[in-house]
Amino acid sequence: SGLSQQVIIMATRIKYICRHQDEAYKLGLSLSFRQEIMKWNGWGYSDSRFLFNKKGQAEFTGKRYRLSGLILPSLKDWFEGTFGANLQHKSPATVSQVAVAPPNLNEPFIEDLKAAGVAASHDPEDRVFRAHGHCLHEIFALREGRIGRVPDMVVWPSCHSDVEKIVELACKHNVCLIPYGGGTSVSSALECPHEETRSIVSLDTSQMNRILWIDEKNLTAHVEAGIIGQDLERQLNEHGYCTGHEPDSMEFSSLGGWVATRASGMKKNIYGNIEDLVVHIKMVTPRGVIEKSCLGPRMSTGPDIHHFILGSEGTLGVVTEVTMKIRPIPEYQKYGSVVFPNFQQGVACLREVARQRCAPASIRLMDNEQFQFGHALKPQVSSIFTSFLDGLKKFYITKFKGFDPHHLCVATLLFEGDRGKVLQHEKQVYDIAAKFGGLAAGEDNGQRGYMLTFVIAYLRDLGMDYYVIGESFETSVPWDRVLDLCRNVKERIVRECKERGVQFPPLSTCRVTQTYDAGACVYFYFAFNYRGLSDPVHVYEQVEHAAREEILANGGSLSHHHGVGKLRKEWMKESVSGVGLGMLKSVKEYVDPQNIFGNRNLL
């Protein structure tokens, strides 16, 4: 395919010698040149982007996604209507490259590194690429050619022992290490601390991307932590297995990153979140390697040391290898969707599904704004028949069933397993939905809902071309507070925007993306048109800050899966208590007294 051809072309441009490469596992995109096919100042692949063509119609370029190459006829109206934006008012990125200060190199460290044979670079492009995650302020700054402190060099260890050498040398020469996996952080975790005076070295794990073994007896796989989600899944698929861990960022995020941030996957209802999936973790710290002595499925050996590692956000060391559970690829998959007359009914239905513990692999509930947004992303229909059917469906729901199009909302479903059970399961869920006024709305709507997950990040770049900025953030909250929290946070966002001089009402929308026994995960999207504001990013940050305060005041958590990074550090003490924070600090103090892992996240 075109993709693998591209891989081969790229492969000829590998800049650095990578040792121990096992060609059998090396066909993915996760080589050091990944940056060559990705945007440097936006989300995802360079060839995939939204744009408004000459006719003013939106289209999505490239060939990678279901939406690629399609025209989206209603996006323009939605975009202009929702944000008060105008295609005449453009705000394109102003630079094609950023200038960075010369690196602050620690020569003795480099000498020793060369002697050890570890690949390294201080090429400005390499450094800039690893100096940021995907927070709004980071991308906005890149588009304007502004960037703060960047790593002074990048190193590419190719295996666990390389990492051991690097960490040892970093301690010896007192350089600061910042582990880098997929670079999809949205918590300012990759930002170099301004106050750091030592040489900062970005430790890119992308070359540690092999599956080292698969154990079919115990259904586990031992994998190097630099592997990217989609590669891991694809390679396991070749053996008939999967991990089932599918965070929205899985195209780009790495296994080590998941461990370091306590990631959560869309299908956690079947497979569990990352903490349920890992059996064994190996991490290199300045004190040495931390790992357990066996692969027992559960232990009572004091506090679980994995939980010092999970969520440590690169402050303690580098995760190098992980043994994780695998499952046979499910026989059957089926999407589905349900329309509810309003968000309250939808939440009540999800709560009941959770109570009966019969949640499908994934169940997500979008609010009305997101439902409308989803509609705006419907591609041009191919036949009159389809459009007629669409019209009929709409008529049935709004006129015959009396749903108010300004209140109805939709839940998307994904079932997995053997066929018989899936169909049975499906019936059970639809029966519950019916009790809450839900109407089955077809597989297509469901599938489109999940596809949106992957393209929505691209949409932000489109917005930024037309004075619209935005971002998402998440929380987890007990069931009884879900509705109140959603309403209050959305309203707070609208209020704060108004008070801070935003000229147009913002898009303030949410969805319930995960269900648990005792609560749910809620995801917010927030975007606004910033024309007329002198410092839009500052306004954005103030509003997001206020929204987070509102979340905490309404019984929500500081984060469900994005992590704390530097963006949410100020609330850590409040979140885990002074003693809790002290505990974490004392672990850091013991493991890394020199603060080699000096990204200053979390604590």
Binding site: D480, R481, D484, L485, R487, N488, E491, R492, L552, A553, N554, G555, E574
Partner: protein, 662 residues
């Protein structure tokens, strides 16, 4: 914005108030019947969950909160949950309103007739109405009117109907229920009834609070209640109660509502309907039990002229912005929200502070009529005044009051003497005017022989009636007056000394007047600022010096507080001289009253206001607060233990000797 209005430093002169419009004018021109039957389409809350009265009841009874308390009560008392639930249902039946539009229309019709007979005009600030119309759509609204008369809530509902605003549900005292018919009528026009005291009754409290909160959460109707808890018999604002305020704020604290708007409403009367009734009540003639026949007797009331009435709808105050930085809402995160929780110390402090500030907003927006100034002067001159000097001094006082930010409704184009003679005519029942000499006097009394005691009481009725008008303007003069008295008793021009005296007086009188707790420094500075601006004082870095021209102003301000100082001293003196070791709380008021009466009859005390039970209660509350008196429970009696040394020293500090001549 609302919060800024609440916490901004006061610059009285800059205070902008809305204009008024007379709503009766239209009523005098068109049919009341047609008006009562007109199409009523109120502006609605955007988050309104439509809900019938009957549904409301089942929602309350089924609520997690009430169910939880029912279980608690059942396990504590041993009664079955069904039995407790039944009790809850009965409580709710006794409490709940049954609002229906037809009854409201009936009231609108009759009240239109009544108001036109009683009042020359009913003036409302229409901008306030417009603000309310906005607020009603945005968030659930709580109306907080001042309470001087039974007319208050009738008038509120009447006005809201008139302006197509949603009709409020009103928290009313149970005492109305004894008026069978009227009680039911009120119930059908939106009143719900609360028992006066239900201190320890968990179930009652749960039903009551859940009922109010449910209506608020559903946006069912604006909730109306009186922060002061009851009608003020003195026309002085009463120390606010925080119970209901807590109930209406809690849905915000717990995240159930994004915000709640509190709208303080100031209702002022040129002549209060219950004027002499109140005075008698304060003097110990017990309040007649509300009864329908009693109300009918009040028909005589209908034939009198009560001048004009003003209703000022203040700026809506957002609970969210009030609580900003003061309430940590996350404190509710760790307990399911339906489990009742006592307000934390912080919350309690916040509620108290908010309540005081809301009452101060009520005070500041209270319209004052010229008579208020005249009454103030006449009380200071018990032997009466010549009309000419009364005119001159009223004019002087008018300017002083305006400089201090009073909301004075003075007719623009009329001569001062004209204004005064109008006022005197309206209040002729309290006065005698002869040969250009005006004096407060008993005009109503039967001319048969009276005992000296009766004569004193008759005079006291007039004085207390008159005082209820002076009291309306006290909030304007209060801070400067405290400063004036402090300067007099400090006997020093050092700022620190004066502040200490000021603080002492402020502390002493904080049950008497609305003085926000913790605002001592701010109040002191405000007083200094006002008097400095008026040229009465020079405030230097460490000293406060009176200017030559300031004498009369300071003397006036001192006499404003004089009756209160004297009254408190009488109470102190009584407590010091009282020999009964087992003085019960119940005996206190009658005993002080007869003590004061004796002093008056003996010619040792001039001030009739010392006879007011309101003042006596406030003085006792202050002494209890200052720990000069303790309450001790003996059996089922509460007795008062007096620390005579402490009381004596308080009396001394207030400036003893010159008041009660021995």
């Amino acid at each position: 914005m609302a919060s800024r209005a609440l916490y901004s430093p006061r610059h009285p002169v800059l205070k902008k108030r809305d204009d008024f419009e007379d709503v009766l004018e239209e009523r005098r021109r068109s049919s009341d019947l047609r008006y009562a039957l007109r199409c009523y389409t109120p502006t609605l809350y955007k988050g309104l969950v439509p809900c019938k009265v009957s549904m409301l009841k089942s929602i309350v009874l089924q609520s997690d909160h009430l169910q939880c308390v029912i279980k608690q009560v059942s396990s504590e008392s041993g009664d079955s949950t069904e039995c407790v639930a039944e009790e809850a249902s009965l409580i709710l039946d006794e409490m709940a309103h049954r609002m229906q539009l037809s009854t409201v229309r009936f009231f609108v019709f009759t009240l239109s007739k009544a108001f036109k007979r009683l009042f020359r005009s009913v003036c409302v600030n229409e901008e306030g109405i417009q603000r309310l119309q906005q607020a009603v759509q945005e968030h659930p609204v709580v109306l907080l009117p001042s309470h001087r008369s039974y007319m208050d809530f009738l008038m509120m509902s009447y006005l809201l109907y008139m302006f197509d605003l949603p009709l409020p549900v009103i928290a009313a005292g149970m005492d109305f229920m004894s008026m069978k018919f009227i009680g039911e009528m009120l119930r059908m026009s939106g009143a719900f009834f609360i028992r006066r005291s239900f201190g320890g009754d968990k179930l009652y409290w749960a039903v009551f609070s859940e009922y109010v909160k449910t209506m608020l959460r559903k946006g069912y109707a604006p909730i109306e209640f009186f922060l002061e808890g009851t009608r003020s018999r003195t026309c002085k604002s009463l120390t606010p109660k925080t119970g209901l305020l807590n109930i209406v704020m809690e849905p915000f604290f717990k995240g159930e509502l994004f915000d709640v708007s509190l709208v303080p409403v100031s209702i002022s009367y040129e002549r209060v309907l219950e004027e002499s009734l109140y005075a008698r009540e304060l003097l110990g003639v017990p309040k007649p039990k509300e009864s329908t026949s009693g109300l009918l007797k009040a028909r005589r009331v209908l034939s009198e002229d009560y001048g004009s009435m003003h209703v000022y709808f203040g700026h809506p105050v957002s609970v969210r912005s009030l609580a900003e930085g003061k309430i940590k809402r996350s404190q509710y995160n760790l307990l399911p929200r339906y489990i009742p929780q006592k307000p934390s110390v912080d919350t309690h402090e916040f509620l108290n502070d908010a309540a005081f500030r809301l009452v101060r907003i009520q005070e500041e927006n209270m319209v004052l009529k010229p008579w208020v100034l005249i009454a103030t002067l006449l009380l200071q001159n018990p032997d009466g005044m010549d009309l000419s000097s009364l005119t001159e001094q009223t004019d002087w006082l008018r300017h002083l009051a305006l400089a201090f930010g009073a909301f004075l409704d003075w007719p623009d184009h009329e001569a001062c003497s004209e204004v005064i003679s109008c006022s005197l005519a309206l209040h002729r029942r309290l006065l005698s005017v002869s040969a250009g000499h005006v004096q407060l006097s008993v005009t109503d009394a039967p001319q048969v022989e009276t005992t000296p005691e009766e004569a004193v009481f008759q005079r006291a009725v007039v004085v207390l009636s008159c005082a209820s008008y002076r009291n309306q303007i006290l909030h304007v003069f209060l801070r400067p007056a405290l400063l004036a008295v402090a300067m007099q008793s400090a006997n020093s021009s050092r700022k620190d000394d004066i502040y200490n005296c000021f603080n002492f007086l402020r502390n002493m009188f904080s049950n008497e007047f609305i003085l926000c707790p913790g605002d001592s420094v701010q109040d002191f500075e405000e007083a200094c600022y006002l008097l400095m601006k008026r040229g009465v004082l020079q405030v230097l870095e460490h000293e406060i010096v009176m200017s030559a021209s300031g004498q009369s102003t300071l003397a006036f301000l001192c006499s404003v507080l004089e009756p209160f100082l004297q009254g408190y001293q009488v109470v102190c003196r009584y407590l010091c001289e009282e020999t009964n070791e087992n003085l019960t709380e119940k005996e206190f008021i009658p005993a002080v009253r007869s003590f004061a009466l004796k002093l008056i009859l003996a010619g040792r005390l001039k001030c009739c206001e010392a006879l007011s039970s309101d003042l006596q209660k406030n003085a006792l509350a202050a002494l209890l607060r200052l720990k000069a008196v303790r309450k001790v429970k003996v059996g089922d009696q509460v007795t008062l233990k007096v620390n005579k040394i402490a009381v004596n020293s308080l009396e001394d500090t207030m400036g003893k000797s010159d008041v009660i001549s021995k």
